[in-house]
Symmetry: C2
Subunit: 695 residues, 2 copies
């Protein structure tokens, strides 16, 4: 019953969206003289009928089920998608050729928001922390991504329809199948079975090839649509592959993340920074992942913009000098402990407490969590619908010390927008090992220390005689021994036992007494060489934009009551257009004043639009609300004949004040820069009663 | 003789650069306690010796040859490259893995300059003209680039060393070979031969596969280095190829230009613009070309940032409403006429005159030439070393109406940085033809007109009987006939002659009398449907940056006379760091004041650095001159105890004034925004005598 109704609502929603498009395109044709007025009117009444039908179905659903959530989520998402595509925030790429899944174009307002958001990011992180920003190519030679592990391990499990060859992500199919089993009202699983399914569901992301294969088989998962059998799962590398140079013999990939460009530049960046640590480098740029089945709009795409930070720090001291500035912030933290507990719910906790209780591993990681939370607030994500979720032990790579995902709640559930990871010294060590280039830093002690150190002195003559051409490799391996291993070898050799030694190339040699002298000596040490640890906050700009769209979108009733108006409640700093200027009616004198105000706004660096369509002010407000313009200026006869003031209207409160026209640009500039607030402006200038549809 | 000396100078220059690196790295190690002072001192005196040797060789060269040019060009380029790489403006990518030709990373100052430059571009073009900015993916499905012609024709001719297989660009080899022949002093070519060689040289870029093969054979061009024979030339496609999706059956390429993203969105952009023309769309983004032999640093790379504009306009009227604002500008124009003339030299001419004399094809193209010239001036390219060169007739594509390249003079010769082309309706028609989607605009007449139009009415019954399944294709081809062709067909059919008709799929059919009625009728026409023309200004950001680096770079003698100091004379708006703040000596009170001024600068959006090294002020000025910081603030005891003023020093004039510390941020803000000039500032505030090395 319920699912029938859900389907009907979805169909009704689609019909409304489609008819809306028809009406708009007819209206455009009407202007061009290509359509008749009668045709347009007919389409409009059809649209009204469809809206009523949808509304009735939705009410019926709410009455039957007592829940609003699931279907209003769908409806909200569809309505928002309509606004975003119609207003060209973003649209599928290559539309005239039928589009390609996972690629989107940003149109003018989307492009402006993206720039504003990356600029806020740059000011908030790069300038504030004096980070070293770099820009590296997307095309990357294989060796770099071999070192980072992406060539071997950047894969998803894929299955294919045994008959048609169509490709699917194994984890998506398994998840969908298990969720359907749990929700099956006709044949509900036993309590025990349900628990088993839930456990499997929670761990789908961590299944290995064999356990994934077993699970698919056990639950008889089949190809969607056809119901055919599936191939066994196999790893599919998500990198786009290409070839560099004319010979065709150099394999390259499009980078799957921007981080590697920073790691391979570590040595130059350290030199640039005067050899001093800690320091952070940052990069904003596009990354590429050849997803098996892109879905969910901007949330899983094949080309996307990342903003990544690599904060290099001595692993022995991860305190942060500015930690105090964020210690009192209380973001929602969803720690390992809470995830394993009964309630499974994030809770607010001050970052200071989280560090002192050992919940967040160190101050630097917590500092970036705090800064990230502030960034989300700045760009208009609702902090009450944002949490930081700690990775469970088995989710983390073996080298990682602690990881937290910045997640935002949307109609798609909790969406990971930022990853914050303490990756220890893994990345630099991996590149040192592949490139043979030293990627260490040197910490100079304030005063030299007398320290007992282990010295390994190979006996060159003996090594040469025994190992011949391998002498050099053996010598290097001996010198690279850790102090513990060296002392262990010393003990064995003194007991007359030969010891196996593995070189960095993986060859094994037998070291016998007399080949090496190992001794503890006390010497003056001026400092310490070490491979820095890396703390990595990594942002997905497109995902943050989409989450922000959902949080900013709302509707309100229009004066005419039969329509609902969409509002994009963007924060002024990210809004694509900061202000619109309307002459009240079409008169040259009003137009001239409007033009002058527009030039003032441009000179103040404020993007703006003039709307001289002569539509009612209410209609013009509605249009700019839909693209999220925060401030509207109306020029009326008082502006040119009376005291020279104009009406300034704020989008969300719809409140209006009269501001002298010479001051209006600087007032808006201050509002956009967060140097003043609307309540302050409303207190300073005389209020104006709202007019027209906007009452 | 001369070439021997040239080689020696080059070697000496390289030795100086290398030793300079050694000294710097030793100095860094000295700080870390890894090197001894004596070692560093030895390296420094070695460097001084090498510099003297280089200087002697250069003087000898100038005395022998009487010319400065060629070798000082080399020297200038090498010295500039040293600064750019050492200061990490840009460095070869993937250095720790031995680099890959044609890829560069921008380090912190390069990154900042690039952002500043693209921001100036965006303000100058997008905001000023209300352009519609879009952002499209780099990964592009084959069909788009098939339509644009890139899959078939975006090639360079390649030759390979017959023995080693090494790859070369045929035109580069031929050019180098011909130039060497002309410069051969031992066996100079005859006057007639020299003329033949010069003619061939001028046309190397336009050779076809067979003529290129003939030329290579005629002149016996061989592989550089080995002297081996070469393979015949063959076309090599410059696009990076990849595969989209998991199946591996969808071919994709990295876009070789950003323009196609705009063309495929034309329909949506026109709708977004309310159906009105003309309008312009713009895109800033990365493009990719798998060059056969990348060279010349940033000038020929495999991944680069473009800023492209597509201005859509009715081909019948290419006037521009704002043309008057640029009509009096007099850039250097290098017209076809001047290129074919005796002097072969560009000359200044007002754009108004160029259009009225028909030298530039239309106002819109000339408008963008003017705006481009203004942009170059804004970002610090020397307008006296910039010209617009018109394409010769044979250089242009058959569909192009007129093309001009914005070229900048550098040590590499004239470098093309911008292409400005009137591409007629070619691009939109190509995509219409491939996608079958209508990419036209509709011009509504102010009042409907009575017009004689040609109507083609196919006889469906007859067509169906004769052509059966091809009926539809024939009907469409008939209806798509141009008025001229239709009237021509009418005449022939009336004379009883059958007419051949080719469908858009290329099939040919014979049309006989009675199959179609063609008539002229007079009817009310409300407007006209047309495919818009495109005027395309296309900017290479990296090339402009490099040219700007060369024009901004100069040296001056230091107080100590034995060293020469490099200065990057960046315009303040593009400078990576706008100001540095120096406490005169290391005292807490001075440091605190410096910190406060730094915060003021940051609050005013001005990137800044504090230098508390305690080096002499002269040394600190020299360091910031080298990274092009336009303004330096020195905090001294007068700043904290006296009248509270600070010293403000301008980089190029080295002039200094005393400014109250509370005003210094807003003074610099105004200088950066071009709202005031240094002479104005110098007139307003009391001068300060320069001190230290900077006298």
């Amino acid at each position: 019953m319920t699912t029938d109704l859900e389907k009907q609502i979805q169909d009704a929603q689609e019909a409304v969206t489609k008819q809306g498009d028809t009406v708009r395109s007819l209206k455009a044709s009407l202007k061009d003289g290509k359509a008749e007025k009668a045709e347009v009117d007919a389409a409009i009444s059809k649209l009204a009928e469809l809206k009523i039908a949808l509304d009735e179905k939705q009410k019926e659903y709410e009455k039957t089920t007592g829940k609003v959530s699931s279907q209003s989520k769908e409806a909200l998402r569809a309505a928002l998608a309509g606004v975003l595509e119609r207003r060209m925030f973003y649209i599928p790429s290559f539309k005239i050729y039928g589009s390609v899944a996972g690629f989107y174009d940003y149109g003018p307002p989307g492009c402006a928001i993206k720039q504003n958001m990356t600029q806020v990011w740059r000011n908030h992180f790069v300038l504030e922390e004096n980070m070293l920003e770099v820009e590296c190519p997307a095309v990357t030679p294989e060796v770099v991504l071999k070192a980072s592990g992406h060539v071997d391990r950047f894969t998803d499990f894929m299955v294919t329809d045994a008959a048609t060859g169509e490709c699917f992500r194994a984890d998506h199919l398994l998840e969908g199948h298990l969720e359907a089993l749990l929700e099956d009202k006709k044949n509900p699983p036993s309590a025990e079975k349900a628990r088993e399914i839930r456990e499997l569901l929670a761990g789908v992301g961590e299944l290995k090839q064999d356990t994934m294969a077993a699970a698919l088989q056990q639950y008889d998962v089949r190809a969607p649509g056809t119901g055919n059998a599936l191939s066994p799962p196999f790893p599919f590398n998500l990198m786009f592959k290409t070839s560099i140079g004319p010979k065709g013999d150099m394999v390259g990939y499009l980078r799957p993340e921007t981080a590697q460009g920073i790691f391979v530049n570590f040595r130059d960046l350290l030199y640039y920074n005067g050899g001093k640590l800690p320091f952070a480098a940052a990069q904003i740029g596009n990354s590429y992942r050849n997803e098996i089945s892109p879905r969910a709009g901007l949330l899983r795409v094949r080309e996307f913009t990342q903003a990544e930070i690599e904060h290099f720090v001595n692993g022995d001291d991860k305190s942060h000098p500015k930690f105090a500035s964020v210690a009192d912030l209380k973001p929602l933290l969803y720690s390992r402990e809470l995830q394993m507990g009964e309630e499974k719910k994030a809770a607010p906790m001050s970052l200071g407490e989280a560090v002192s209780r050992g919940i967040i591993a160190n101050e630097t990681l917590a500092y970036f969590i705090g800064r990230t939370w502030l960034f989300f607030c700045k760009v208009g994500v609702n902090p009450a619908r944002m949490r930081f979720r700690q990775h469970l032990q088995h989710e983390m790579a073996h080298y990682a010390t602690d990881c937290w995902d910045g997640e935002v709640e949307t109609t798609y559930g909790w969406v990971e927008c930022v990853g914050l990871a303490d990756r220890s010294a893994y990345d630099l060590k991996a590149h040192t090992s592949m490139s043979k280039i030293d990627l260490t830093a040197f910490e100079k002690f304030d005063t030299p220390r007398m320290e007992e150190v282990v010295r390994v002195v190979p006996n060159n003559k003996e090594l040469g005689a025994v190992f011949k051409k391998d002498q050099k490799a053996v010598k290097e391996a001996l010198e690279a021994l850790s102090e513990d291993k060296a002392m262990d070898m010393k003990a064995k050799l003194e007991a007359g036992t030969p010891v196996a030694l593995t070189t960095c190339e993986g060859q094994s040699f037998e070291i016998k007494p007399g080949m090496v002298e190992i001794k503890k000596v006390t010497e003056k040490v001026t400092g310490k060489t070490y491979t820095p640890s890396v703390i990595e906050p990594s942002f997905g700009i497109g995902r943050i934009m989409y989450c922000m769209f959902e949080h900013c979108y709302y509707t309100r009733e229009a004066a005419s009551k039969d329509e609902v108006r969409a509002v994009m409640g963007f924060r002024p700093v990210v809004a694509p257009t900061k202000a619109t200027v309307f002459p009240l009616v079409q008169k040259p004198a009003l137009n001239e004043t409007a033009q002058r105000i527009s030039r003032d706004l441009t000179a103040a660096g404020l993007s703006n639009l003039i709307d001289t369509t002569g539509n009612t002010i209410g209609k013009r407000y509605a249009r700019t609300d839909e693209i999220g313009v925060p401030f509207a200026i109306t020029v009326d006869f008082d502006s040119i004949e009376g005291n020279g003031s104009v009406t300034l209207r704020e989008r969300d409160s719809m409140a209006q004040v009269r501001v002298p026209q010479g001051e209006v640009a600087s007032v808006i500039r201050a509002l956009v820069d967060d140097r003043t607030t609307w309540p302050e402006v409303a207190a300073k200038y005389p209020a104006q009663k709202a007019t027209g549809d906007d009452e």
